[in-house]
Each structure stands twice: as C-alpha cells, then as structure tokens.
Amino acid sequence: MPFILRRLGFYVVAAWVALTVNFFLPRAVPGNAVEAIMSKFPSLQPSAYHALEAMLGVGQAGSIWHQYVSYLDDVLHLNFGISSSEYPAHVSTLLAQTIPWTLALVGTATVIAFFLGTVLGILAGWRHGGWLERLLPALMFLQAIPYFFLALLLLYVLAINVHIFPIGQGYAGGLVPGWHWSFISSAIVHSLLPAFTIVITSVAGWMLQMRNVMITTIGEDYVLAAQAKGLRDRRVIFSYAARNALLPQLQGFGLALGFVVSGAIVMEIVFSYPGIGLLLLNAVTSDDYPLAQAIFLVITFAVLLANLIVDLVIVAVDPRARTREAA
C-alpha cells in the first residue's frame, strides 16, 4: 500500500510538471502568441481574441499566479479552449472524437505485442541457441525501424500494390459512424494494418528484453534449486524463472510506454487514421497552439495513467513490492 501511494504521489507531481510546462510555454515565446495566431487566421472574429486569450491564459487581468490558477481550473473542467484551425470547434470536442480511435488501436496492439514478445522472450531465453537465436539480428533490425517507415512499407506493399488491406482512413468512406456491424467491421479491417505495424516493430523489442532478463534470471540460485528439486522443466522455467523475470520486464514496459505511444501516434499520420496523431499533425502544421498543447497534455496523462496501471500489476505480481517503501 505505501508503494502505491508513493507512486500515485509521483504521478501527480509529474502531471503537475506537465501542466506547468504547458502553462509557461506560450509566455516564453517572444511576441504575443495570440496576435500571431490571429494574423494567421484572418477569418477569425475579433471576439475570438478574447477566447484565445482565455485559453492561452495571456493578457488577462491579474497576476501570473491568478492566471495559473484559472488555467488549472480550466484544465480540471476539461476546458481546453477553442481550436484555431478548426474554429469554432472546442478542443475538447475534437479530442473526444479522436481519442477513442487511438485508444482502441494503440492500446490493443501494444498489449498484444507485449504479451507476444514476452512469451517469445521466455522461450528464447530458455532455449537459447536455437532457431529463435538466429532470428536475433532480424529482430534488432525490426526494432530499429521507425514505426512510420514500416507503415509506409507495409502500406506500399500490402495496400497499394496488392490491395489486401485498405489504403488508409479509419473506415470506408461513406459510412456513417455508429454502433452497427457494417461500420464496426469496416473499422476493424481498417485498423488491421496499423495494428500489424505496431505489433511487428514492438514485439522485437519486448522479446529481446525478456530474453536478456530470462538468461540472467536462469543463472540465479533459486532456479538451480528448482532443478535440484526434480521439478519439471516447464515448471522451473515458468514458475521460477519467468515469474521473477517478469518484474523487470514490466518495469521496462512502463518506461517504454511513452515511446510506444509517441511512435504509434506518428504512424497514424501515414495511415490517415482518425486518431490523435492526425489531429496533432494538423495542429502543428497550422500552428494551432491550443490544440497542440491540449494533445500533449492528454497524451501525457494517458501515459501516466498507464504507468500507474503497470505499477498496480507489479504490486499484484511481486510480493516484495507490497512492503517496499522506496519507489
């Protein structure tokens, strides 16, 4: 219990740091950020000026502290302001439309990849020197490929040349989103290739990591003791070695989550997948600061939450964590 509370406290601090960075960024830019935006979008009404000010928290009456507090208040009420590129849409609306897509795709694919990679890593660590070992250089190559490049390749080969998969988008054009099967099946089909990309690239990483941890763990005394006990090989490897090797692997998962999410988001651009990634690209290319900042916050909070979940899993698996004080 103390462990979880400490971790929770830590994540709150991290979230606060992210919020504060977000708050100070527009103020750190020389010149008036609001005017810069206004000049880019001549179609904006003058009333938008105030809205933008409110959103970015600049130019208001009151001290910095006052602005900061009202900014925090806004964020807690999920009021991220108004998007300048999609004016007058609210940023929170845009986010609500795209987050489920990203969550479904990236969440599912990452979990599958982690699970698959870990199991393969256990086998590779146990039967080291086998055919899995010969795959290692290929796996390293896969791990080093940027997500979006693999996406380009796969898209080119499997979608454009061979027409097995759809070329992009989240679902077939012309369909109305809703909870009916034609839409859902189309959405699933369209998410196969992006999911495939994520799984291929990240499985290699998880597998390599688990293999290394397994090899180190198999050298521990308790594994030798398990063998001395005459237990079956399967039990020695899974209940003794793998269960212990899983702990550093899970910690590695938590650390790598940020990278996985980042890579997946950029990959969405290639597929024109209607997730946060595409939204981020639009925000960046059109200098839509409120949107870009909000996306950064959302991604950060999601990663923090996922890390917390991983910590809970670790506590469930490792009896030592329940009494451990240090983070």
Partner: protein, 377 residues
C-alpha cells in the same frame, strides 16, 4: 530401478534391499571438467568416496578445491560449460532393490531421483528460495511432484515439516523476504527433508549465519538426522566445524582427494601435510596460545596442473620426487581406522615410491621453504 512413491518413514538403520553398512552413495573416479575457450579446467580429478546410511561425511577444502563441483556433479546439476568426463556415481537408497548409476540415468529418471533420494541444502537461503513464491507453495510443489499428493494433503505435510524444524505454521503463507536468516535456512532444511531423502548434501549451510544461529541450526540438523536416518554430505571450508560434527572427513585440494578418514583420526593423526596445515590454521578454544600458521601460496592453476602432487609448491615436507609420483590414495597403515586413506607418499614408509622420495635427497625440495617448525597435532 524400482522406487515406491511415499510410504511410512522406515526406522533408521533398517536395511531395505541392501545390508546395513553398505554404502548409500558410492562415487568412483569421478572427473568433472569445465570447457572454456582457453582450454579445459579439471575441477574434479578422479575422486572416489563412499557415504553409508546415516553417516555424516564432511568435505573440506579451500575455495576452488572442487568440493561443491563434486557434490553438484554427482547429481548432474552443473551447468554448461561443465562436463562429466569419467567415473560413476552408484546410488542405492532403502527404497530400491538395485543400485543405479546416476550418471547413466535419463533426464526423466534423474528428475525422479533428485530430491526424493538426494536432496540439497544450499548455502544462501535468501538466494535459493524463490522470492515471489510463498513458503507453502515452495514446499508443496516438491511434495506434489514426487509424492503425487493432492494439494490439501501436501499442505498438511508441509505444515508438519515446519513443525519439525520449529517454525510456526502461520509462516506457511509468508514470503522469503519476510523471514529472518535463521528461519529461511530452517525452511530450506525442511524443504530438503520433504520427501524423506536418503542423502542430504549440505553446501556450506551455516556459513552465512552468525555463530549462535549456526549452533541452533546444526543442533537441529543432528536431531533430524537421528530421527529420520538420512546421510549427510557436509561441504564446508571450516575444518573445525567438521571435527565436532562429522563421522568421517574428506579433504580436497585442487580437485583431488588428499585424505579421508574418521574425524578422530583426522583430528589426532592427520597424515597429509595439507590436512596438518589446515588443522593449524584455526585457534583452539582452550590451551596455550600459539602462533597461527596459515598456508602461504595459492592453489595451482587448474588449466594446466603441474604433474605429481598438486600441493607440492606449498608443502613443507615435500621433495622434488613428489612431482614425479602418481597421486593415488593408499591406506594409512599406522591408523586405527581401516578406511583412513591418504594421497601423500611421504608419510608412508612402506610405499615403494616413498623410498625413492626420501632417497633422492631431503632438504633440496623444489620451491619449498625448509621446515623449521614442529607440526604437532
């Protein structure tokens, strides 16, 4: 090989298919080597020894003498790059009709023999216990694997084991990190006895504990041995401990057996110079103060062992003839123990090459300081 699964604990000393006094474990000419990129290291070189039922045999030597390698090699627990290059390990427990050679068993047969017949108590209980498994699970999994009991009965048996070593039953649900060092070691011992083995190999079981706990644990071990009748191969670098504890003592050096005999003989009539030096390396609790003599020098490089006796460079009694002898164990005729063997020819006047050794000149030994002190037992 026929073994029965489980059954009542037999009275110690009652034979099964063999006569009392016959060895339970018979190691003959066992050789173990480590294959490295730079050549082979002969960690154990043609060692032979016996273990009879209910006996405590102590195996003593410096680090790197091969004592652990010998014990783990006998149950084939050594990992690559170790290989067994010769010898046999005959085992016959009271549940068996005929002896088996452990080295010739298949993997499945070996798994059946391990722990059930030959169990091991490891040196560091903190490292040898699975940190993420409860005590109960670690006890029951070996009980269920060998005795095929359902979980409830296995748990009851596990609780009984804890009673036997004096640990409260509530500790069944604890994890290793929640227990003290002495408790962990006692759980290791309980675990080793879970399937009523015939032989228990104890690899420095008390080295990591303080002296008080050490005493408790050793007392417990002796009491359990009396009750259950298993034999113990006690590996340690502490000869003083064995003098009190063991029935017989085997002294190893550089992978070879130097001397073996009863504890009394080793204590009062050691015949090998190495044994004598070991005896003089620790102080007596009582008696006049005397200068402690260590053993200057280091053990030989086992990649390319020098010919002849491996102890020669550090021996104060050896001559250069000792580098030409064959290292083999012979009876110490002057000893009261008929099984007292030594590998040193120098102390056996009736050994043929001993005559050659003393004839080729005394005093001009190779690389050895002339001995000026009296080595009295």
């Amino acid at each position: 090989m026929t073994t029965d699964l489980g059954g009542p604990v037999p009275v110690p000393g009652a034979g099964g298919g063999r006569f009392a006094g016959e060895p339970v474990l018979s190691i003959r000419d066992l050789s173990v080597a480590y294959r490295t990129m730079a050549g082979d290291v002969r960690a154990v070189d043609r060692v032979s020894m016996d273990l009879t039922a209910g006996e405590i045999v102590g195996l003593v030597g410096e680090s790197g003498s091969g004592k652990s390698t010998l014990a783990y090699g006998a149950t084939r627990l050594l990992r690559a790059p170790a290989v067994i290059t010769g010898g046999s390990v005959q085992y016959q427990g009271r549940r068996m009709d005929t002896p088996v050679d452990v080295l010739q068993l298949s993997t499945a047969q070996l798994a059946g023999l391990r722990w059930r017949e030959i169990a091991i108590v490891f040196q560091s209980a903190m490292n040898a216990l699975n940190p993420v498994m409860s005590v109960r699970n670690q006890l029951t999994d070996v009980i269920r694997a060998h005795l095929r009991l359902p979980l409830r009965e296995a748990t009851e048996k596990a609780a009984g084991l804890l009673d036997m070593v004096g640990i409260p039953r509530s500790r069944l649900h604890s994890y290793p990190h929640e227990l003290s060092g002495g408790m962990r070691q006692r759980i290791m011992i309980a675990m080793a006895l879970a399937t009523d083995p015939e032989v228990v190999i104890m690899d420095e079981p008390t080295t990591a504990l303080d002296v008080v706990v050490q005493r408790e644990i050793l007392g417990q071990i002796l009491e359990l041995k009396e009750r259950l009748g298993f034999a113990i191969l006690f590996i340690t670098h502490d000869l003083s401990l064995l003098l009190e504890l063991a029935d017989r003592i085997a002294v190893m050096y550089a992978g070879q057996l130097m001397e073996i005999g009863t504890a009394a003989e080793i204590h009062h009539e050691p015949s090998h110079p190495y044994t004598k030096r070991l005896l003089h390396s620790f102080p007596a609790l009582r008696g006049p103060r005397k200068e402690l003599t260590g053993i200057p020098g280091t053990p030989p490089d086992l990649h390319s062992p020098p010919p002849g006796c491996p102890f020669l460079p550090r021996c104060t009694e050896g001559t250069d003839a000792c580098s030409r002898i064959e290292v083999r164990l012979s009876r110490v005729t002057s000893s009261a123990d008929p099984e007292h063997l030594t590998a040193c020819p120098f102390v056996l006047p009736d050994r043929p090459d001993a005559a050659a050794a003393s004839a080729s000149g005394s005093g001009s030994a190779v690389g050895v300081r002339p001995s000026t002190e009296e080595l009295t037992p």
